[in-house]
C-alpha cells in the first residue's frame, strides 16, 4: 500500500528542469532510501515529496489528496521533515527546539498544553536525550544535535518522516547510531521513513525499499533484493562492484568496487 504517491512529476529550479515526468510510490511502514550520484535530483525529489519545493506539473497525493493544495499545517501532522544539516540559533535549548515540533497542533498564542508536554517528553526519551533537555543545542556534539532534530520531527507525531542525508558530517559510529535509531522508529512506531543516503552499503543495510536515480530519472524502485544488481550499480554510479553477503546482517553489500571507466581513476603524477 502506498499512502504517498507522485504522478507525472515535473520539478524545476527556476527554469531549469531537474526532474521530468516521474512516477513514484512510497511504501507504507517501510524504510525507503533514495540513492544516486551527485546532482541526480534525489534531494530535489525528496523536497518535492514533502511540499518544500513546488512542482511544475503532476500531483503528489497523500491518502488521495493533493499535498500542495492541502493546508500546510495539516500536512505537518502527517509528514515531518529533517532537512540536510539544519542550523540552529545560538542559545536555543533542546527542550525549546523539540517543543517547536508541536507547532502544527497549536492554535493562536501557542501555549503548550499537557498533551504537548507529554509528547515532547516522549520524543526526548525515544531519542535518548532526556538528560540534555535544558542544554544549549550548539554545545552538543554532531550526533547529539541530530538526535535533537529527530526528536523535533517525532514531536510532530507523524506517520511519515523524511530525512535528507541524516548522517552527513557524522563520524562512522554516530552514523550507525542515527541509522539504528531510525530503524527502531520504523519497527516500534511503524513510521514510514524516506531518506536520501550517500553510502550505498548503509542504504542496503538499513532500508527495505530503494529508489535509484540518475540524471533526474528513476532507474529502479523496489524492494532491495529485487532491484539491486551489479548492472544497476554500473549504470547508476559508473562503478564495477561485486555484491557479497554481509556476514553480520545477511544482507547484500558492495565490495571491491572501482570505476567502470578506469581512465578517470588514473591520476598521472609526474
Amino acid at each position: 500500500m502506498n499512502r504517498l504517491t507522485g504522478r507525472n512529476l515535473t520539478i524545476a529550479y527556476g527554469n531549469k528542469i531537474i526532474i521530468e515526468n516521474l512516477d513514484i510510490g512510497i511504501p507504507d511502514k517501510k524504510i525507503t532510501s533514495i540513492i544516486g550520484p551527485n546532482g541526480c535530483g534525489k534531494s530535489t525529489l525528496l523536497k518535492a515529496l514533502c511540499r518544500l519545493l513546488p512542482i511544475k506539473k503532476g500531483k503528489i497525493a497523500l491518502d488521495g489528496t493533493d499535498i500542495n493544495k492541502s493546508a500546510s499545517k495539516e500536512i505537518a501532522k502527517k509528514i515531518a521533515i529533517l532537512p540536510q544539516s539544519p542550523e540552529v540559533a545560538d542559545g536555543l535549548t533542546v527542550g525549546e527546539l523539540v517543543s517547536y515540533g508541536r507547532y502544527p497542533y497549536q492554535k493562536g498564542f501557542g501555549r503548550l498544553v499537557p498533551e504537548d508536554v507529554e509528547v515532547i517528553d516522549w520524543a526526548l526519551q525515544v531519542t535518548g536525550i532526556t538528560e540534555f533537555k535544558h542544554r544549549i543545542i550548539n554545545d552538543l556534539s554532531g550526533g547529539q544535535k541530530q538526535r535533537v532534530w529527530i526528536a523535533m520531527a517525532l514531536a510532530q507525531k507523524t506517520d511519515i518522516i523524511f530525512l535528507d542525508e541524516p548522517t552527513t558530517f557524522l563520524d562512522i559510529a554516530h552514523q550507525l547510531e542515527i541509522l539504528e535509531l531510525i530503524k527502531e522508529l520504523n519497527q516500534k512506531q511503524q513510521t514510514t521513513i524516506v531518506m536520501v543516503l550517500h553510502d550505498i552499503n548503509q542504504a542496503i543495510r538499513f532500508s527495505d525499499y530503494m529508489i535509484t536515480m540518475k540524471d533526474g530519472e528513476v532507474i529502479t524502485q523496489g524492494n532491495i533484493p529485487e532491484v539491486l544488481s551489479s548492472q544497476l550499480l554500473a549504470e547508476v554510479f559508473q562503478i564495477d562492484a561485486e555484491l557479497m553477503q554481509d556476514k553480520l546482517t545477511g544482507k547484500p553489500m558492495i565490495a571491491n568496487y572501482q570505476l567502470v571507466n578506469r581512465k578517470y581513476s588514473k591520476v598521472e603524477i609526474k
Binding site: L52, K73, I81, P86, G91, Y103, G110, L112, Q156
Partner: protein, 333 residues
C-alpha cells in the same frame, strides 16, 4: 513539566528586573535636567497641576512628553530590530542599517518640502512609506537566491542605499531651504515631543508591540530557517511580509518622532538573547523593555551634557558593539 518551571522562572526574574530598571531610569530622567526638580513637585505637577507654576509646566509640557517620546522610540526601534533580525536571520540587521530610517527621513523631508504644516498621523504614514521604500531597496539588493540574506552583503547594501537616500534628503533640504527643521531630525532628538504626537504614537506603538508579542511564537519558528518552518506548516511568506511591514511601521514612527537613531535595534535584541536565549516569546517582551531603558537613559545623559544629540550618545556605545559583532563573524542567528 520541567520545561515550564526552570526557564520561564529565570525569564520572569530578568524581565522583572528590566521593568524595575525602566521605571527607575524613567523617574531619573524626569527629575534631572537643566532645572532639577524634586520628587514632591513632580507628584504635585501630575496630580495637582497648577498652570501658574513654571516647574509644573516644565514637567507636564516638556519633560514627561519628552521621556515618553524617548521610551516610545526605544521600544519601537528595539522591537523593529528584533523583527528584522528574525526575518533576515541576520544578527547584524537594524532598522537604520537596512535603510528604513534613511528612507523614512527622505519621505519626511519630501513631505515637509511640499507642506510645512502636516498632521502627525500623516507624518507617521509618510515615514512608514519611506521605510518601506528604503527597506525594499536594501532587501532586494542584499538578497540572493543562493544563500538568502548574507549578513555582510545586506549591511553593504544598507550602507550604500542609506548614503544615497540621505544625500537625497539633504538635496531636498537645500533646495527647499528646510535646513533648520531637518538638522533637528538628522541629529535625532526627543526634546520637541508634544502630547499631540504621543496621542497618536502611543496607541500605534502599543498595538504593534502587542501584535509582535502575539506572533512571537511564529518568529521562533521562522528563525529555524525556511525549510524547517515550511515543514512545520508555517506560511513563511505571510509571516515574513507581516513582520517586515510591522517593523517598517515602527521605524517610520520613531523617525517621525525623533529622527534617525541607529544601533538601538541592533544592540537591544542581542542583549535580550544573551540574557534569555533565542525563544522570541521571551526575546520580544524583554527587547521592548530594554529598548525603552536604553533610549530614556541615553536621552537623560544627552540632556545632562547640555542637549547633546541623543543619536550620538547611542552611537557612542552602538558603534563599538557593531564592530565587535563584525569581528565575531556576524554569523546568521
Amino acid at each position: 513539566m520541567e520545561l515550564k518551571n526552570k526557564i520561564p522562572f529565570h525569564f520572569s526574574i530578568i524581565f522583572t528586573i528590566a521593568c524595575i530598571i525602566l521605571v527607575i531610569t524613567f523617574w531619573i530622567s524626569i527629575v534631572y535636567g537643566s532645572a532639577d526638580i524634586n520628587t514632591s513637585t513632580i507628584l504635585n505637577a501630575v496630580f495637582n497641576y497648577d498652570p501658574e507654576d513654571v516647574n509644573h509646566n516644565i514637567i507636564i509640557d516638556v519633560r514627561i512628553p519628552r521621556d515618553i517620546g524617548a521610551l516610545l522610540v526605544g521600544v519601537a526601534l528595539a522591537v523593529s530590530g528584533a523583527g528584522i533580525q528574525s526575518v533576515t536571520r541576520n544578527s547584524l540587521a537594524d532598522p537604520s542599517l537596512i535603510g528604513l530610517n534613511s528612507g523614512a527621513a527622505l519621505m519626511l523631508a519630501l513631505t515637509y518640502a511640499v507642506s510645512p504644516v502636516i498632521t502627525f498621523p500623516l507624518l507617521i504614514l509618510t515615514g512608514f512609506i519611506g521605510a518601506m521604500l528604503g527597506g525594499t531597496m536594501v532587501l532586494m539588493i542584499g538578497r540572493s537566491r543562493k544563500d538568502g540574506f548574507n549578513p555582510v552583503r545586506l549591511i553593504l547594501a544598507g550602507a550604500a542605499v542609506s548614503a544615497l537616500l540621505s544625500a537625497a534628503s539633504q538635496a531636498i533640504a537645500l533646495y527647499f531651504r528646510l535646513n533648520q527643521s531637518l538638522i533637528f531630525w538628522s541629529s535625532g532628538g526627543v526634546s520637541g515631543t508634544t502630547w499631540q504626537q504621543l496621542y497618536t504614537g502611543i496607541p500605534v506603538v502599543a498595538i504593534i508591540v502587542v501584535i509582535f508579542i502575539l506572533i512571537s511564537g511564529q518568529l521562533s519558528i521562522l528563525n529555524l530557517g525556511e525549510s524547517i518552518a515550511k515543514g512545520l506548516g508555517q506560511n513563511v511568506k505571510l509571516i515574513r511580509a507581516g513582520t517586515m511591514l510591522l517593523s517598517m511601521l515602527l521605524a517610520g514612527i520613531s523617525v517621525a518622532i525623533v529622527g534617525q537613531i541607529a544601533f538601538v535595534g541592533l544592540m537591544v535584541p542581542h542583549i535580550s538573547r544573551f540574557l534569555v536565549g533565542t525563544d522570541y516569546k521571551k526575546v520580544i517582551p524583554l527587547t521592548a523593555v530594554l529598548g525603552g531603558c536604553l533610549v530614556v537613559s541615553a536621552d537623560t545623559v544627552a540632556r545632562l551634557m547640555g542637549e547633546a544629540p541623543v543619536s550620538a550618545i547611542i552611537s557612542f556605545i552602538g558603534v563599538p558593539y557593531f564592530l565587535y559583532l563584525i569581528k565575531k563573524g556576524g554569523r546568521t542567528i
